[in-house]
């Protein structure tokens, strides 16, 4: 991503930062909630039930006082007590159901969202991963999802419930006594000011917190990944100092929100009491007008109950604000990720024209025609590269680092899209082949061998259902059986993170076995002599020879035997093929290849 684009995304994020509600984001989130809409319906049914059971309780209290206690009539008090207990039990049951349904709604929706992000991310092309650090993607799929999930249990949904509850309370109060209700809510402007103050303070605070937290996590992530380097260069103290600075800033950024939250919580409670005081005072002034003392007492008691119930949700508003704000920021980040869509190898709208000289197998099983390519907006890495790999032939590519050799492989498997020209496999433009088919036909063995957690057999199969005999056969043929013989569990041996319990050379051998088991139609090899010792080298050479027999092979060659035995050698420099021919031809031509070889003769003898 260019700096400008990064800045724009950053600015956009800051726009939403601190907001507790954003309609656009809500609409986008709705997509993931909708499949579980039934749970939402269940909640919509349960919520008023819980509310009804709860709000009926003070009413029973009023009846008890007005009709029994205050007038000295004990009969019927038992019935009210039993009813009250019944309401309590019902409320508890329905509240449990409500929580359960909400959590399930949240968890299922977030599971869906998580899968969606996973699928989305895995569909992206290689360039996407070049600039998107693993840590960031990981955060999207774990912490950010958790933040949104919180919203279901404690955020928007309960806010709706709170709102309904508050409205219901006001309605009940109005139905009992209009003027007294109005007296109660004389305190509302005060409440409003408080809410505004809190919201602003929290928005400011959260914005800062988020940026610092992100910096802190990225910092830790990198230092853990590079722990060996950190230790060998005794960078511990300096790194700890730099971390300390962000850490301290993170702590301090919270202070504002702590103050705002405390003020909100405590002052709302106080305002609630002020309202009660107002109600009592008002009731006392009315008595002079001849109102019944008993009725007034009952009314005041009930109002006290309802006022308490009204102010509790307001009091918890700042906590919910924090949850909502976190959820919105997380949604914004997730949506930004989802909106960045650079699909890997998308199917082309119309078939690309195939030049006559590569139609069918005319040119070769693999053919490059005038291919140009650049990573991003930079300098072209390939400029007009054309060559053929005939069926069953071996083509070796040599050239200095950065000459574009490895890029050829990435383009052939369509990890990156070419900017111009065409690449053809079996007479089809690779852009017109289904990606799955293309990548099944072309098997790449790269220098950097990646292994997954699991067993050796899992890593050799890698998603295919080869039987054991086939794996054993492949292992034997490339000489990897020696690697496994040294370990007790052989094919069932455990592979730890990234194959860390195997040396680079051992991983190489296993990668060859992995390719061998697939019996690929087209083999692409990025030779890595540097990782393998002479003994293994010999074994591999034999294994590779076996693997290459009768197979179409494109090899980035480092070994003399490979180069000399190739049917065609391509010499690359700065993105162009500067020489092509067999070893003997190129030596005879006395060009770059010959010069290159002389360098080595000098260095080696």
């Amino acid at each position: 991503m260019s700096d400008a684009a990064g800045g724009a995304a950053g600015a956009r994020q800051e726009g939403v930062l601190g907001k507790a509600y954003d309609l656009r984001l809500m609409r986008q989130l709705w997509r993931f909630v909708r499949p579980n809409a039934r749970l939402l319906v269940a909640w919509v049914i349960l919520m008023p039930l819980t509310l009804g059971f709860e709000l009926a309780q003070p009413y029973l209290l009023k009846l008890a006082i007005q009709d029994h206690i205050a007038v000295g009539k004990p009969d019927g008090l038992e019935l009210l007590a039993v009813l009250y207990v019944g309401l309590v039990v019902l409320q508890a049951g329905s509240a449990f159901g409500e929580q359960w349904v909400l959590q399930l709604l949240g968890q299922r929706s977030m599971h869906g969202l998580r899968l969606y992000i996973y699928d989305h991310v895995l569909r992206q092309r290689a360039a996407f991963f070049d600039r998107m650090p693993v840590g960031r993607l990981l955060t999207r799929m774990t912490n950010d999802i958790e933040s949104i999930n919180e919203m279901f249990a404690q955020g928007v949904v309960t806010l709706i419930a709170d709102f309904v509850k508050m409205v219901a309370i006001v309605v009940i109060m109005l139905s009992m006594d209009v003027t007294m209700t109005l007296m109660t809510f004389l305190t509302l402007p005060l409440l409003w000011l408080l809410v505004i103050y809190t919201r602003n303070a929290m928005r400011r605070s959260f914005r800062e917190v988020r940026v610092r937290l992100a910096a802190m996590n990225a910092f830790v992530q990198e230092h853990l990944s590079g722990i060996r380097v950190v230790q060998l260069f005794r960078r511990e103290a300096a790194a700890t100092r730099e971390y300390d600075e962000i850490n301290a800033g993170h702590r301090d950024a919270y202070l504002t929100s702590i103050r705002a939250d405390a003020a909100m919580y405590a002052l709302v409670e106080a305002i609630g009491v002020l309202a009660i005081a107002g109600v009592a005072w008002y009731a006392s002034t009315r008595l002079g007008g001849g109102a019944s003392a008993v009725a007034e007492v009952g009314l005041v008691v009930v109002f006290i109950e309802y006022i308490n119930k009204f102010f509790i949700p307001v009091r918890d508003l700042s906590a919910k604000y924090a949850v909502m704000q976190g959820a919105m920021a997380a949604s914004e980040r997730i949506m930004e990720l989802i909106e960045t869509d650079e699909p890997d190898a998308p199917p082309s709208a119309a078939a690309h024209p195939v030049p006559a000289d590569v139609a069918g197998d005319a040119g070769g099983l693999v053919a490059f025609r005038d291919v140009t390519f650049a990573y991003g907006a930079g300098e072209p890495v390939l400029r007009g590269v054309s060559f053929d790999v005939p069926r069953g032939a071996t083509v070796a590519v040599v050239g200095a680092t950065g000459s574009g050799k490895s890029t050829l492989i990435k383009l052939l498997t369509r990890l990156y899209e070419i900017d111009g020209g065409g690449i053809y496999v079996g007479g089809h433009d690779v852009r017109d082949l289904p990606t799955e088919e293309l990548r099944r036909r072309v098997t790449v063995v790269s220098q950097d061998v990646f292994m997954f957690n699991g067993t050796v057999a899992d890593n050799l199969r890698l998603g295919r259902d080869f039987d054991r005999a086939r794996l054993e056969d492949a292992v034997r043929r490339v000489g990897a059986d020696r690697v496994l013989a040294r370990r007790p569990d052989g094919l069932d041996g455990v592979v730890t993170e990234r194959g860390g319990n195997f040396s680079a050379g051992e991983r190489q051998l296993l990668a060859f076995a992995r390719a061998m088991a697939r019996e690929p139609e087209i083999l692409v090899l990025d030779e890595a002599t540097a990782h393998v010792d002479p003994e293994a080298e010999e074994l591999i050479e034999r294994g590779v020879a076996e693997l290459m027999r009768g197979r179409t092979t494109l090899v980035i060659a480092h070994r003399l035997t490979t180069i000399r035995n190739a049917d065609l050698i391509l010499v690359m420099s700065r993105g162009q093929i500067i020489e092509r021919g067999t070893h003997d031809e190129l030596i005879a031509a006395g060009g770059a290849y010959a010069a290159l070889e002389r360098t080595f003769r000098r260095a080696g003898s």
Partner: protein
């Protein structure tokens, strides 16, 4: 973490409360304020009861406004003390969180590679994020509610007794069940929380693995198979979260029921006592007010219980991290004078076993200043382990490795590692500028990912340490130490082709360097540290042969009077070394110069033959 330079966690007993108790002053003030809050707050139901009583009394118009004012005064007083108590306790929790984060980070930096093999980064990161948050919640909300609930129960109980001991007895009858519920549910919540954390850790590992291996997943078309694994992990998270919900969901209503049951009893028993004139109606209202005061603390108790259990589960994970002893400890002896280190390295009878396998077997070597020693051997022969042993990344038995005659196990690690410059094969660089990466070698520069630093800048957050750090660039030009190192590592031409030159950002939102370029930046970093002992661990494997030759030629000059160790498979790289050591199965099987070894006709000669055929050096015609 109070002192950044002491990277060890506090010794002695670690309890979940150790960190927050460092701020016990604030906690005490907060506690006293909470007590005041509870006392003042009692004034509210008292005055409320009196007000209700007064409404039904002889002089409501005279009494009630006075009581209403009093009630308001109590409310405002309560608000003030409550604000102070919350600010104090929550600030203490944040301060303790800051300490904990600092200690965790500093401690992580001391742990050896073995720890990181057993604990994937994703797992460690999840401890540093979600576990720290959970523990902090325990300190803030946990302590606040614990203290508050205690005070609330005590003060309310006293007031209730004052009104009517008989009614009090009946009212508190249901409350002891809270403890039964707590005992029973607490354990279940703990187990359920731990399962959630474990499943989250496993999920984040699975994601991390898939993202790191994305190229392989794509090239081999493993998307579907990997997706199945991912779905399983995600479903486990879902299921364990629902388990937790079920347990927690039962707790809330159960506790609410206890409170409400008490209210019913008060209504029923209290009502009868009013009717029998044992107490006044105002007393009942007041009593009811007290009970209402208990409703929230009781509910909070349940929430706290789950907070406590979750906090404990998270703390266990953090504590086990903090308790992990670094496998390699500082030597007790005095540090070497960095200016005086000659770089004489002697290995005597070094035998090392790792995970039951003998990696090095009775290895003896002497590398003198001013010479280049090459170590050659097949994969798994122990070459890299030997290098790790030199810098004590892997620990060694005493009396086996000596730097300038000093047993390395007696040296402080910083002193030992300060003498060694290391360029690894898999070059790890930070997402900062090339200049910062090279400056890393001599402790300057920043390692904060540049994209994050920019974000802080955009948010207007100044970073204090920026000004304090030694500059790496002056007017866009690198300081000489960086420029020299870059030159020696053959980076000058590459840098000229980058528009941002030394400011070029590596990695995240920056350019993607080629493997060879990365290795050379790593080499420059090692050279910038001006090491007495330079170790190149196959660190030019991705660099083309011509560049490698130039770099190695120059190296002899740069490392004049100092010790260089080269690990390589390539004859071209090692043949000019003063001493070539061949390792096989952890043993030194040959040693000598190129010519001597060739004449001996052993493993080395065999290697030579593989790489040279027909008199042509071809280890790579053009890597």
């Amino acid at each position: 973490m109070s002192v950044p330079s002491s990277p060890t966690p506090p010794a002695g007993a670690l309890t979940p409360w150790t960190y927050v108790l460092r701020y016990r002053g604030r906690i005490y003030v907060g506690g006293v304020m909470l007590l005041l809050t509870n006392l003042l707050f009692l004034g509210v139901p008292v005055t409320m009861g009196m007000a209700v009583q007064a409404i039904g009394g002889p002089d409501p118009a005279g009494e009630v406004p006075r009581l209403a004012l009093l009630m308001s005064a109590f409310a405002i007083g309560t608000a003030v003390t409550r604000i102070v108590s919350r600010v104090m306790i929550f600030n203490a929790a944040r301060a303790a969180e800051y300490d904990l984060r600092g200690d965790l980070f500093a401690h992580l930096l001391t742990l050896d590679p073995g720890y990181y093999r057993a604990h994937p980064t994703g797992d460690v990161m999840s401890r540093l994020t979600s576990d720290v948050q959970t523990v902090r919640a325990l300190w803030g909300a946990g302590i606040l509610n614990l203290v508050n609930t205690g005070f609330a129960f005590v003060t309310v109980m006293v007031m209730m007794l004052r009104v009517d001991p008989v009614l009090t007895f009946w009212a508190i009858l249901p409350f002891p069940t809270i403890f039964v519920i707590g005992q029973f549910m607490g354990r279940r919540i703990y187990r359920a929380s731990r399962a959630v954390q474990q499943n989250l850790g496993a999920l984040s590992n699975a994601i991390q693995e898939d993202l790191t291996g994305i190229q392989v997943i794509k090239a081999y078309g493993v998307e579907d198979a990997r997706r199945i694994g991912f779905v399983e992990h995600s479903e486990k998270v879902l299921a364990s979260n629902m388990d937790l919900t079920r347990v927690r969901g039962q707790l809330g209503p159960a506790l609410a029921a206890v409170g409400s049951l008490a209210a019913v009893i008060v209504l029923f028993v209290g009502g009868r006592r009013v009717l029998s004139h044992d107490i006044e109606l105002g007393n009942l209202i007041e009593f009811n007010g007290y009970l209402a005061r208990l409703a929230w603390p009781t509910l909070a108790l349940g929430w706290m219980l789950s907070l406590l259990e979750r906090g404990r589960a998270s703390w266990t994970r953090l504590e086990s991290l903090l308790r992990t002893r670094p496998a390699v400890a500082d030597g007790a002896g005095a540090a070497l004078d960095p200016e005086e280190v000659a770089g004489d390295v002697r290995v005597e009878g070094l035998t090392l076993e790792l995970e039951g396998r003998r990696i090095l077997d009775d290895v003896s070597l002497h590398m003198t200043p001013g010479t280049i020693t090459a170590i050659v051997g097949r994969t798994g022969s122990g070459k890299s382990t030997l290098v790790d042993a030199l810098a004590r990344v892997i620990d060694v038995p005493p009396g086996t490795i000596f730097l300038d005659g000093r047993d390395v196990t007696t040296l402080p690690l910083a002193s030992l590692r300060g003498a060694i410059g290391y360029a690894p094969q898999e070059a790890f660089l930070f997402s900062t500028s090339i200049a910062d990466n090279i400056a890393f070698g001599f402790g300057a520069g920043s390692t904060l990912p540049k994209a994050r630093a920019d974000e802080l800048d955009r948010a207007g957050i100044a970073r204090r340490a920026e000004a304090e750090r030694a500059p790496v660039l002056i007017d866009g030009e690198p300081v000489p130490r960086i420029a020299d190192a870059a030159g020696a590592a053959g980076l000058v031409r590459d840098l000229e082709q980058m528009p941002q030159r030394y400011r070029t950002i590596v990695g995240e939102r920056g350019i993607t360097l080629s493997g060879g370029q990365r290795q050379r930046v790593a080499l420059a970093r090692a050279l910038a540290s001006r090491p007495r002992v330079l170790v190149l661990d196959d660190s030019l494997s991705s660099v083309d042969a011509e560049t490698e030759r130039i770099i190695l030629d120059r190296l002899r000059e740069i490392m004049q009077g100092r010790t260089s160790i080269l690990i390589s498979h390539r004859v071209a790289a090692v043949k000019n070394a003063d001493q070539i050591v061949v390792l096989d199965d952890g043993r030194v099987v040959e040693r000598g110069t190129h010519d001597e070894l060739l004449a001996a006709g052993g493993v080395y000669a065999e290697l030579y033959r593989t790489q040279l055929a027909d008199g042509v050096a071809v280890a790579e015609v053009a890597s």
